[in-house]
């Protein structure tokens, strides 16, 4: 397993004090913390390599370009992608989804149907609603069971011949549910539907091989993977990416510009218009290398042990209700206690230096499903400890008695 106390030394923020007590950071599903190995790479970029890429032939530009393209190779290798040019750097998951949704505008008509699920993040709902508004296509919803899993039988029924695309998250950010995406993808492909997987919550917790999954599109954000803000990637099978129009016009995405006609550049540049987040992309590469140096198997096993420990302890609290208390989940626990408002619990936990997220977690349909205003969500990462969980459950009990 992993040596959590050694790992914690890599994360300067973990020794921070909040309200005069040690910070306990359990908001990892919103954003993960950043190790020195990543912070230093970013600083080092600005101190030694900062330059605009791809277009310059001086040494600094060549150096920055090599580092940037090296990060693309790291992403490619880590996610089992066949070709580097199938990795498009984005500003995050939301951006990646919007590249696809705006690209599909011309391909869809009012007889087409799209499928999403009831447990999607708003970023994987709103773009498809906007797309359906424009094209007249129909949005169909895979319902969620009350245990927080998807109803796959209903999914099969929804998969009618008119369904062109299926958009599902790999892991629910609110419930932690790991969805059976291999089955979802295979069923879709049998139906000639293409699949986009929102990997915002999965990429940080276990290793994923996109070639084996045979997924058509996959998106994720670096800031949930120990990486910097403002960067993420979109993977797409090259023949599909080739068939999409470019998302943005600008420098770098074109190969020839005249006022009569403009030719678009090849992948991946076609989708990377303008100066990209160069430092961010390089930091993203460093983050993946860092996590791999710890080992995703270790991360997965350790986080599972944290989840089991916390779940067991929380269940002992009077009046608690955990949403999505199942086996196949990552280290996220969403709960409410009695009829206390989640923000009341969150505010009190904050006084104990404990950062959890409260509210709807950008998943209003899940809240509507359970008919609740929100949840308290504690999400653990490989740098959290069991003793932090002890302090957390103690604090939850104290909050309950204050509110009671």
């Amino acid at each position: 397993m992993l040596d959590v106390y050694k790992i914690r030394e890599d994360f300067p923020i973990l020794s921070k004090k909040i309200n005069n007590t040690d910070l306990i950071y359990f908001d990892n599903a919103a954003t993960s913390q950043t190790p020195n190995q990543v912070i230093d790479v970013i600083s080092d970029y600005y101190k030694n390599s900062n330059s605009n890429i791809h277009r310059g032939l001086h040494s600094l530009s060549a150096d920055a370009t090599d580092k940037y393209e090296n990060a693309r190779a790291i992403v490619k290798n880590h996610f089992g992608i066949s070709n580097s040019f199938e990795v498009i750097f984005t500003s995050g998951t939301t951006h990646g989804i919007n590249i696809i949704s705006s690209g599909l505008e011309k391909e869809l008509s009012s007889k087409d149907e799209l499928i999403i699920s009831e447990m999607e993040h708003h970023s994987n709902i709103v773009p498809w609603q906007m797309l359906c508004d424009k094209t007249g296509s129909k949005l169909k919803i895979i319902p969620m069971n009350s245990d927080g899993t998807l109803n796959i039988d209903k999914y099969k029924l929804l998969l009618t011949p008119n369904v062109k695309f299926v958009f599902v998250n790999h892991v629910s950010n609110t419930l932690g549910t790991i969805n059976p995406i291999k089955e979802i993808i295979d069923l879709a492909h049998l139906n000639n539907s293409k699949v986009l997987i929102d990997g915002a919550q999965s990429a940080a917790h276990f290793k994923i091989n996109l070639s084996e999954l045979d997924v058509d599109f996959y998106v994720a954000s670096a800031h949930k993977l120990c990486g910097p803000t403002g960067v993420g990637f979109l993977y797409g099978k090259s023949e599909l990416l080739d068939s999409l129009p470019p998302y943005q016009g600008g420098g770098e995405m074109i190969s020839n510009v005249t006022f009569k006609q403009t030719e678009y550049a090849e992948l991946p540049h076609k989708f990377e218009a303008g100066t990209p987040n160069i430092a961010g992309v390089i930091g993203f590469g460093a983050a993946l290398e860092y996590m791999n140096s710890i080992g995703f198997d270790n991360i997965e096993a350790y986080e599972k042990s944290l989840l089991d420990y916390a779940t067991e302890k929380l269940k002992k609290i009077d009046g608690i209700k955990i949403y999505g208390d199942i086996n196949e989940k990552i280290s996220v626990i969403s709960f409410n206690i009695k009829d206390y408002h989640p923000s009341d619990i969150g505010s009190i936990l904050d006084q104990f230096g404990i950062a959890v997220r409260t509210g709807q977690h950008c998943t209003q349909p899940i809240m509507d499903h359970f008919n609740i205003p929100g949840t308290v969500r504690a999400s653990f990462s490989f740098y959290n400890t069991k003793s932090e969980i002890d302090l957390f459950t103690d604090a939850v009990e104290k909050a309950t008695s204050m509110l009671g």
Binding site: N19, Y340, H341, S343, D344, S347, I348, D350, Q351, T358, G359, P373, G374, K398, M402, L403
Partner: protein, 140 residues
């Protein structure tokens, strides 16, 4: 009638008695519990303050150049805070409300509730109260 500043000072004095944050929060929770809930007629969207993670409804009426505020929330700490806001603002003239400088929240150590975070929305509440005051003043 005490001025807005006097009431703020009173509140600051009261909070000075508390030893630590848990006593303050307990007090807010108790205030929240005693603030009468709205009847469902007033729990309507047009009374809802945007930018709060918990729902906060604010209602006002204007008579004799004086604004009366009532408020409610589905979260108890928010209710406690708005009960303080009502104590500070309700019963005052629009111009006094507009000109008032609200510093008690910071001084009683609730500034984490004062962040730009839309989710918290304490700022939104104060802003909404001042917007009402502006609206009533311009109606005069």
């Amino acid at each position: 009638m005490k001025s807005i500043q006097q009431i703020q000072n009173e509140i600051i004095d009261e909070f000075n008695f508390f030893q630590d944050w848990s006593e303050k929060y307990q007090y807010l929770i108790d205030l929240g519990k005693t603030l009468p809930a709205f009847d469902s007629d007033n729990r309507i969207d047009s009374n809802l303050i945007k930018g709060c993670q918990s729902k906060v409804w604010l209602n006002s009426s204007f008579n004799n150049n004086i604004i009366i505020f009532e408020a409610d929330s589905d979260a108890i700490i928010s209710k406690g805070i708005i009960s303080l806001l009502i104590r500070v603002f309700s019963g005052h003239k629009p111009e006094d409300i507009i000109e008032s400088n609200i510093d008690f929240i910071e001084k009683i150590g609730l500034n984490s509730h004062l962040s730009q975070t839309r989710a918290n929305g304490l700022l939104s509440m104060v802003k909404q109260i001042k917007i009402y005051a502006l609206a009533y003043q311009s109606k005069k």
